[in-house]
């Protein structure tokens, strides 16, 4: 019973502070952690990209360029020509997801453990897909797409509009949530050695894998939408 209570407490998203407006707006820990991630990444990016030159780049510049090109290739290789313009957006999303998922290594609650984060990401993802479809096919073509390939498929296609973001959201949330729960259980049972080893799988490997899966599926949806 004590274990269950402790676990429940760990899974709670506590309020970080309250803004004293309209009777108090509670800002939870996830939002604050996300601000920290934004600030950290912003400073890191500014530091890494300062003083870039076109000729004879240094090691830092070469490393950053290689990383960016690799990341864009990773996402861009799945996409057709029409979808390539969304690659920077997806890379930004991948960066956020990657950092958010592996932040558990530093014993910080990952933002993706919060359902709000994954729902927000899934919503943004599906809005992006629909915007891409409308930009490519115009509103008429986009609406006709719901009756594709035959009119009988209309209810299925409308359902798909909600199923896709829901599956994206739940897959990410479920994986990160489950990893967090398992890690907390392991820490309670065996506090030393074993959590360190499992952390490599659940926080690093699974975290990065789920981030890639999320962005990869979004890129596939964009591809389908712009074809």
């Amino acid at each position: 019973m004590e274990l269950a209570e402790e676990l429940t407490a760990e899974l709670e998203i506590p309020t970080a502070f309250t803004i004293p407006i309209a009777g108090g707006i509670a800002i939870n820990q996830t939002v604050v952690i996300t601000w920290c991630i934004i600030a950290f990444l912003f400073i890191l990016i500014l530091f890494l990209t300062r003083g870039f030159v076109t000729q004879n780049p240094g090691k830092r510049q070469a490393l950053v360029e290689s990383f960016v090109v690799w990341m864009q290739d990773l996402i861009g290789s799945n996409m057709n020509e029409k979808g390539k313009k969304y690659v920077p957006f997806l890379c930004g999303m991948l960066l956020f997801l990657g950092v958010s998922n592996i932040i558990g290594i530093f014993n910080i609650a990952p933002p993706t453990k919060d359902l709000r984060t994954t729902v927000a990401l899934a919503l943004m993802s599906i809005v992006l897909v629909q915007i891409a479809a409308i930009r490519e096919k115009k509103v008429g073509g986009w609406l006709k797409g719901f009756a594709h390939p035959i009119a009988v498929m209309l209810p299925m296609n409308i359902l798909e509009l909600f199923i896709k973001p829901l599956s994206l959201c739940m897959r990410l949330f479920g994986n990160i949530f489950a990893a967090f729960v398992i890690m907390e259980l392991v820490k309670m049972v065996v506090p030393v050695v074993l959590p360190a080893a499992l952390c490599l799988y659940f926080d690093l490997f699974d975290g990065l894998l789920q981030a890639y899966v999320f962005v990869f599926l979004t890129s596939l949806y964009i591809n389908e939408a712009v074809e």
Binding site: T30, L46, G92, T117, A120, L121
Partner: protein, 166 residues
């Protein structure tokens, strides 16, 4: 545990959008810009190199054309000079031949003249000698011994005058 409130949800959307904007603007944007600039510089260098190669080829073609023209002109000049030299040579030879012919002719004329003169003198001497001998033979009684002496004298004089003229 799975609570959901709209304020924090909107905050999360804004946060994610801000982070994506930062990554796009300051990381991917900067890196892509620098790669594009580098590509542009490389393309410029290639274009400059291509232009230089083209200019060099044009210069080479121009040089070869000029060289061919110079060779042609040189050959023409050489041919003209050869023809002129041949012509001058023929003229000089002709002139020299004419002069030589004149000299030879003059020499022959002179020689003939001298020969003629020499012939006349000898004949005169012989004539005078014959006349002298004849005179003596006719004017005096000549014995066999005196006649033989006169005859030898005549032959001796005749031989001397002939060899001296020649």
């Amino acid at each position: 545990m799975l609570s959901f409130d709209l304020v924090n949800f909107i905050c999360m959307i804004i946060n994610i959008l801000i982070l994506i904007f930062i990554a796009k603007k300051f990381l991917f944007g900067r890196v892509n810009d620098i790669i594009a600039k580098r590509q542009e510089e490389v393309n410029d260098k290639y274009a400059t190199a291509d232009r230089a190669i083209e200019e060099a080829q044009n210069s080479k073609r121009e040089y070869e054309t000029q060289l061919a023209e110079f060779r042609k002109e040189s050959d023409e000049r050489l041919e003209n000079a050869r023809k002129e030299a041949e012509s001058k040579k023929a003229g000089i030879l002709e002139k020299a031949q004419a002069e030589a012919d004149d000299i030879v002719h003059a020499a022959q004329t002179e020689a003939d003249h001298i020969r003629n003169i020499a012939g006349i003198d000898r004949d005169k001497e012989v004539e005078e000698l014959v006349f002298d001998v004849a005179t003596r033979l006719a004017g005096h009684a000549i014995n066999e011994e005196a006649s033989s002496e006169l005859y030898d004298k005549f032959l001796s004089q005749a031989t001397n005058s002939g060899s001296g003229k020649e």
